[in-house]
Amino acid sequence: MAFINIRNKEIQLKIVYYGPGQGGKTTNLLYINNNFSEKIKSKMVSIDTCGDRTIFFDFFPFDLGQINGFDIKIQLYTVPGQSRYNATRKLVLNGVDGIVFVADMSASMRRKNVLSLKNLHENLMIYNKNIFKIPMLFQFNKVDLSQKGYPILTPERLIDDLNRQLKRPWITASALTGQNVAATLKNVITMTTANIKNNLN
């Protein structure tokens, strides 16, 4: 739930990038870090990595500044996608306000996408959170693979697999080239902010 401090006039939003392993969650944050760290005056912290694999999590806090008299602080997290690190994923999901589900468009990742979404649903239930109610956005990552001749899953297929019941907004992206990375973040923050009222009620 969003942390609102009325006395200090501060709102903290926690957004988690969730998805299968090597789907591009860390790459999303890295792109933001490399291109906007000066503007948002913050840097990404990567906790415990093994080569290009996240073992614990990535953390990227930044401040949006004063808006309507409130200081808006955003905390971005990624989870380790590998199935064996479920305990870490559960931990990171504690107090989550918004989720970006980074689905991998590679044709070979179809099953892993579905399993990861199922895992998210189960882990959210631990915190009495409903996957149908939490602000969530699907990012279909690695769209650039098709240009390189690799087989990819079509958005239709991914929607059929992941979003048929959830009916959430989705966007195709390439975290590597930065395509739609900022748009994803902008939309999930806006969605999460709009949901603060529902959260309090």
């Binding site: 291109n35 958005p155 239709e156 929607i159 748009a183 939309n187």
Partner: protein, 230 residues
Amino acid sequence: MIDLDYNNLTMGVEKRLDEIFADDLKSHNPQISKFKHFEKPSLANLKSIIMSLEWEVTDDHLNDLMQEIRRLQQAYIKDDQLQKLFRLLFHIGRYIKIHKSDTHPYIFKLLFRFYNSSAKIASGKYSNHENAKIVNDEIKHYLSLKAYLKRENKNISRPSLKRVNTLEKSRPSPIDSSSKQKPYPYKDASKILPTTLNNDFRELKKFIYLEIKKLRKDLQGILTLIHKRA
């Protein structure tokens, strides 16, 4: 009570994010898609491809057919009955690809049948039970045609005197001046005839041998029964 104007806050956050990511958002021109059910594609394209195939069997039309079937298979991935029909269409497409203009004319009729049944199922007007019945009927048609073609193929592959007739048919017309220079193909026919007869004899022998073997087995069975009763 929290004194917070949520609408203004959301708008303010959106504005601030636009400022931060301005360059990036402009360069990538993102389009976030609201959830929508993808409309199932109609089968009209499939129909037009089948019609063009009936008119003329070309590689382009065949490739179009295979591509369209693959596209429909993806679009109707959850519909088991349609998937079965698409698989049948795919097999027929492959058959036409091999036989091209020699394709049996009934194959095209079958293509239309399968298309009509697919359109029926895709319309969603029928119950699951009715859909299953439609598909089962089509599978029966497909299997019976397959068996028929197998039988026909056997007849064709068995060399016979008919081959001589085809040579007769291919006799060049006396009007065609260019054909006058070519030798008359009957010489070849005389060569073919003894070999074809030989093959026929060999097959007949085989057949008789197998029949006698079967008869022997039957007789042995009868004899053992008689012995037991005695």
